[in-house]
């Protein structure tokens, strides 16, 4: 077997050296009646060509690549420069472990340091960690962070938070003394209902957790939200599912938001059927020593030369065990490294272009679809790159099925998350869509009746 470099001769030499005749002697501490179990249920080995054929056959059962997709809702198709794919695939980046020996890990450490810097530039906040698992778990960790920092137990969750993020927050906190309260959304503008927020906010509230752009596609007025919660000494925690928006919208720090946590898959990670993606967390400086996850810091070596290490590790499980800020150990280091490569490659201009086109393509669609007799644009302004459509006649499922016949995936039906909402669809746009793509969508919609 090509992955096993021991030859039979070497095996015999080792057995002789360690004083055994048979490998079974190595495992004699295992109950004899349980060991060397029957392997009959396990499939036979495939050769490399057979493996390729087997996976090709499985891949052929995925018809997704043949469709024009406007799916988003937390996972977004953006263009990935070839340089990013080429560089991130290098074994030097793919096959090291966590940089526990910084003298031989400066490449990864510097790359993550650069990534942290760019995430703080995008949100305007002071500090960023080295990554968390994904957007949903990053928001759950932000909830725990707010509770730790404030010493309070009440968390207000906007109803427009990605439903899977809310679900993960509920799972994470199900055995902890944390009270989760949902804040309603205005039907009229898709934003948080400020009256409901004020009614639910009290002096025991740790934080308001809101998403912007939210799950309905609408950009919140974060300044108003932060101003609402700060007098009660509660934190404003912003969740972000579409990180590309950070390059188009005013940074959270300008609105006095305290923590921004979410999903950065848009920064150079392929859709990959949902993972691995990249959870991120940025915060004001005062949260630093309570933050979860690894953090890279700059320091000096014995000769006074600049270098980087994992730092502030007294927050972490390997030092603090059950008193740690989080149980996270393995994170999404390679995804963060790749996101850094993506951001550096796109650069100031490229990122602005991709982020701008993502909005402008959505705006183009809205301007054309606004005249449609088949659909209604629910929120005609303050969307970023996602648009909520209401189907005037019939259900979302019927609408999507009809467009699927034209090889178009015209969005995610909201009834997947809100079973009572049967006629709404969320569509996502980005720089990958051409004008022809959007016109094709509009034409197919026009033919739907």
């Amino acid at each position: 077997m090509r992955y096993l470099p021991l030859t039979d001769t070497a095996r015999e030499e080792i057995k002789k050296a360690i004083g055994i005749d048979d490998c079974k002697e190595l495992f004699k501490s295992i109950p004899a009646d349980k060991s060397y179990f029957d392997l009959a249920a396990i499939p036979s080995a495939l050769s490399e060509p057979e493996l390729i054929a087997e996976f090709k056959a499985m891949g052929r059962k995925n018809f997704f690549p043949g469709y024009l997709s406007f799916l988003g809702a937390g996972a977004y198709a953006h263009f990935i420069p070839e340089v990013v794919a080429y560089l991130s695939a290098k074994g030097e980046f793919l096959t090291p472990y966590t940089p526990y020996q910084p003298e031989v890990s400066q490449g990864n450490l510097q790359a993550i340091f650069e990534y942290q810097t760019m995430m703080t530039m995008l949100t305007g906040l002071d500090v960023a960690n080295a990554s968390l698992y994904d957007g949903a778990t990053a928001v759950a960790e932000a909830v725990l962070l707010a509770v730790r920092k404030s010493g309070r137990q009440r968390i207000l969750l906007a109803d427009s938070l990605h439903p899977e993020y809310s679900a993960v927050v509920r799972t994470y906190t199900q055995n902890l003394p944390i009270e989760l309260v949902t804040v309603n959304v205005n039907e009229a503008d898709g934003r948080i209902n400020l009256n409901d927020l004020q009614a639910k906010l009290n002096d025991q509230t740790a934080a308001l957790v809101f998403q912007s752009p939210n799950f309905l596609g609408v950009v919140e007025d974060s300044a108003v939200l932060a101003q609402a919660v700060h007098p009660q000494h509660a934190y404003a925690v912003q969740a972000v599912a579409e990180a590309m928006s950070l390059a188009y919208l005013r940074p959270a720090a300008d609105f006095a938001v305290d923590v921004v946590a979410g999903e950065a898959q848009s920064f150079g990670l392929s859709l990959g059927f949902g993972g691995p993606y990249l959870g991120f967390m940025t915060a004001r400086e005062e949260f630093l020593r309570q933050m979860p996850g690894r953090i890279v810091g700059q320091t000096k070596d014995l000769d006074g030369k600049r270098g980087y290490v994992l730092t502030l590790s007294t927050r972490e499980q390997h030092i603090k065990r059950e008193k740690a800020m989080s149980n996270i150990c393995s994170n999404e280091a390679w995804c963060a490294l790749r996101a850094g490569m993506y951001l550096a490659t796109m650069g100031k201009d490229g990122l602005a272009l991709a982020a701008g086109d993502s909005h402008l393509h959505a705006a183009y669609f809205v301007s054309k679809a606004a005249k449609s007799r088949q659909v209604r644009i629910v929120y005609q302004k303050n969307f970023y790159n996602e648009v909520l459509l209401e189907i005037k006649k019939g259900t979302a499922e019927a609408f999507l099925t009809a467009l699927k016949k034209n090889k178009i995936l015209a969005g995610v039906p909201l009834n997947w998350f809100y079973p009572t909402v049967s006629n709404r669809v969320l569509l996502a746009f980005s720089e990958v869509h051409s004008r022809e793509d959007i016109d094709r969508l509009l034409q197919a919609m026009g033919e739907y009746s």
Partner: protein, 480 residues
């Protein structure tokens, strides 16, 4: 001159660009309040494509990686990452959007179902979820399952027992599942026994989290008796499967009384560690815990695969979408390549290699627990004129990545060595020779160790400074 390349921000120059996007042909106006829009990002990189490539190639050269050589980090199972698996995982065929209609992604759903079947066959557990993102996430998921199960039986209980040799994630994961931790001392053999466990086994104990083989590399031979004692007490047995590599094709944890376990695809199943992640930490359960697995669940209905998004007893959702799907692609490819013919050989070779290192080094290093070991061996720095750290740093000068140091905590100056099955005897002999040379240097020229490393891009780094005066990002003019 610094051996590190300048930061990407320091090589940035106004007017340079590395992206190849064209101008959009769509004419439209922004539909957002102008006050919500940002201006250009100050300091953001402006670098040409060739400079991007050279920057990252310079960084790549500063990394030690498994592709370069031995990486014997104990309990991390740094085995070779097959290259074909990378190619398969990057295939366009597997890059669907996670909300694509199920009939368009039958291949992806089949792939997840097949991986779960493999894991069931190898572990003897009744079912698996591949949703957890990493080992610690799997532990947390497992402990949530334990708690929900006990709660529905009437009492979630208060305490989780964890051996003193356990990894730090175990107590942390149990803590976030709402439990108090009681530490169980290992006995003189380095394992847990029923007599030692008995005083802790009160009626408030929800579970014992046991790593098997444990972090000393020793198989917890009392596992079935311990499982019986736990079950008689109404408690569950959680097995941390971080070290499953030693048992692959040898024994199924499901046959030993384990109720819940997690495994690490990035350890046992050869997916790349990526400098610290992504991992993937599938959780397997015995039949009585199946209803508590997280959602979503991939199910086969007739000839088609579908997904169940809600189940009445489930702990709920623990991650966005389905989990680390592209890691699953690699793990399944690895298992298909191994097949029935090789799975057992993996464990045998891993254990042979570890025992060979143990045999060859036990004359020169203190072995605190003489008990037989499987896939790894832990030495201490007892009787050495230098510290474990110094030996580790000197190894860097000889071009080897060191072993895990100062863990497990119950061994003074622990050196935890796991070569894995993907190292040749020639490499092990070279490592043994270097270790012996270093131990000789430790007595004759200790300065070589105390000053090590000298051959690396940077020398020992000041971690105290990094923590006392945190510099966590580049600021114009402030990082020199």
């Amino acid at each position: 001159m610094s051996p590190l390349p300048d930061l990407i921000f320091e090589i940035s120059r106004e007017g340079k660009t590395a992206h190849g996007l064209g101008a959009s042909r769509v004419q439209s106006k922004p539909a957002i309040d102008p006050g919500l829009l940002r201006t250009a990002i100050a300091g953001f990189p402006q670098v040409s494509e060739v400079e991007i490539v050279r920057h990252y190639m310079a960084l790549a050269r500063l990394n030690y990686s498994l592709d370069q050589g031995l990486y014997p980090l104990g309990s991390c199972t740094m085995k070779y990452n097959p290259k074909i698996n990378e190619k398969l995982a990057s295939s366009e065929d597997f890059q669907a959007h996670p909300y694509a209609p199920h009939e368009l992604v039958q291949g992806n759903l089949e792939l997840m179902a097949r991986l779960e079947e493999w894991l069931v066959a190898l572990t003897g557990m009744a079912g698996f979820t591949c949703a957890p993102a990493a080992g610690a996430h799997g532990e947390f998921t497992g402990m949530l399952i334990v708690r929900k199960y006990l709660k529905e039986k009437g009492d979630p209980r208060r305490v989780v027992l964890i051996p003193d040799s356990a990894h730090g994630t175990n107590p942390s994961s149990a803590h976030f599942a709402g439990y108090e931790i009681r530490e169980i001392p290992s006995n003189a053999e380095g394992i847990i026994d029923v007599e030692g466990l008995r005083p802790f086994l009160k009626d408030d104990v929800a579970a014992l989290m046991m790593t098997n083989p444990n972090t000393l590399g020793i198989f917890e031979k009392n596992i079935t008796a311990i499982a019986d004692a736990l079950h008689a007490n109404g408690s569950l047995l959680y097995m941390d499967g971080a070290n499953l590599n030693a048992l692959l094709g040898i024994v199924r944890p499901g046959d030993l009384g384990v109720d819940v376990m997690h495994i690490n695809l990035h350890k046992t199943f050869a997916t790349p560690h990526g400098g610290g992640g992504p991992g993937s930490g599938p959780v397997g359960v015995a039949a009585h815990l199946l209803p508590f697995l997280p959602v979503p669940r991939v199910v086969k209905d007739g000839g088609k695969y579908g997904v169940v998004f809600a189940a009445p007893h489930s702990i709920g959702r623990i991650k966005n979408f389905y989990g680390q799907f592209l890691v699953m692609v690699r793990a399944l490819a690895y298992l298909c390549s191994l097949g029935r013919e090789n799975v057992r050989q993996v464990a045998e070779d891993a254990v042979l290699n570890a025992n060979y290192l143990r045999k060859k080094l036990q004359d020169v290093l203190d072995l605190p627990y003489p008990t037989a070991t499987l896939h790894e061996v832990v030495f201490s720095d007892k009787n050495l004129p230098v510290k474990t750290l110094d030996i580790a740093k000197r190894l860097l000068d000889y071009g080897f990545h060191p072993f895990t140091i100062y863990f497990p905590l119950i061994v003074h100056g622990a050196m935890m060595i796991e070569p894995t099955e993907t190292e040749s005897k020639e490499t092990l002999d070279e490592f043994i020779a270097v270790m012996k040379k270093i131990l000789l240097e430790a007595r004759e020229q200790p300065d070589l160790l105390l000053q090590a490393p000298r051959q690396t891009p940077v020398r020992r780094l000041d971690e105290t400074l990094a923590a006392r005066q945190p510099v966590l990002k580049w600021r114009k003019g402030e990082n020199r």
